[in-house]
């Protein structure tokens, strides 16, 4: 039916397929006003931000970036991210397409106001930098027991 099925283990595939749909639905394009710090499609690195009641997750799609070059800072709820990605060609090669970003980059993202700048974690895997920021506890919804 679909040729992309052939390359994957089907049991595992079903599991990832569910996850994929979940993610595609969640981050799907819903129109609406443009974020003031949003960037044009194709800008490197692309960024997604998700929020749950306890934490804020930032996904930076920075394929090929040197993790050591990444500089992350959080001032109140303003996340600034900079780094470098080199895509130099070998000497004497003839280039046909150069679509991949080459050089240094900087992005600024507004996070929800209740993030705790002291509780930040960052991990880089398969070209995605995943930054997790905890939200301040006093602002989290609390369940009130009815006696």
């Amino acid at each position: 039916m679909f040729d992309y099925l052939t390359g994957f283990d089907h049991d595992v595939f079903d599991q990832f397929e569910r996850m994929r749909r979940q993610m595609d639905v969640m981050f799907g394009d819903r129109g609406g006003p443009l974020g003031i710090r949003s960037v044009a499609a194709g800008t490197y690195p692309a960024i997604n931000v998700g929020a749950s009641p306890t934490q804020v997750d930032v996904y930076v799609f920075a394929a090929g970036a040197d993790p050591k070059s990444l500089d992350i800072s959080l001032q109140q709820n303003l996340l600034t991210l900079s780094g470098e990605r080199e895509t130099e060609l070998p000497e004497g090669a003839q280039a046909y397409r150069r679509e991949r970003f080459n050089g240094s980059f900087k992005r600024v993202i507004t996070l929800p106001e209740d993030v705790d700048p002291d509780k930040v974690n960052a991990a880089y895997r398969d070209g995605v930098l995943h930054i997790t920021v905890q939200r301040k506890e006093e602002l989290q919804p609390r369940k009130i027991e009815v006696k």
């Binding site: 040729d3 992309y4 090929g64 060609l89 090669a93 398969d126 070209g127």
Partner: protein, 131 residues
Amino acid sequence: MTDTKSMKTTESGQVQRQAEQEVFLRPAVDIYEDSTGITVKADLPGVSRDRLDVQVDGNNLIVEGQAVINMPEGMESRYADVNATRFRRSFALSNELEADNISAEINKGVLTLRMPKRAEVQPRKIEVTGS
């Protein structure tokens, strides 16, 4: 990153049907040639080796990858540059390339494909004789 709706006009019937059902991201690529072959580099952030599929179908080279992202329960989107997790891009090969000897490697979300040229089309230095 952009999706691949524009592929409808350029690719085969099967791809058209897929494009209507699924949104694919079109990875940015660098393509360059040296005397021994052609190299393609593609940005596939979030794609690990086991979620990558590189196929040669006749004269076409098809690259597909699935980005896997860990998401906590109860998460809602606040901002999204990327609104799909599947990458796809295809290339028409040229017959002087050895399609059976293409090598693929993925590192930090960057795929490198190396396509060697057949030995008979690699440049040879031609000696000039006489004076």
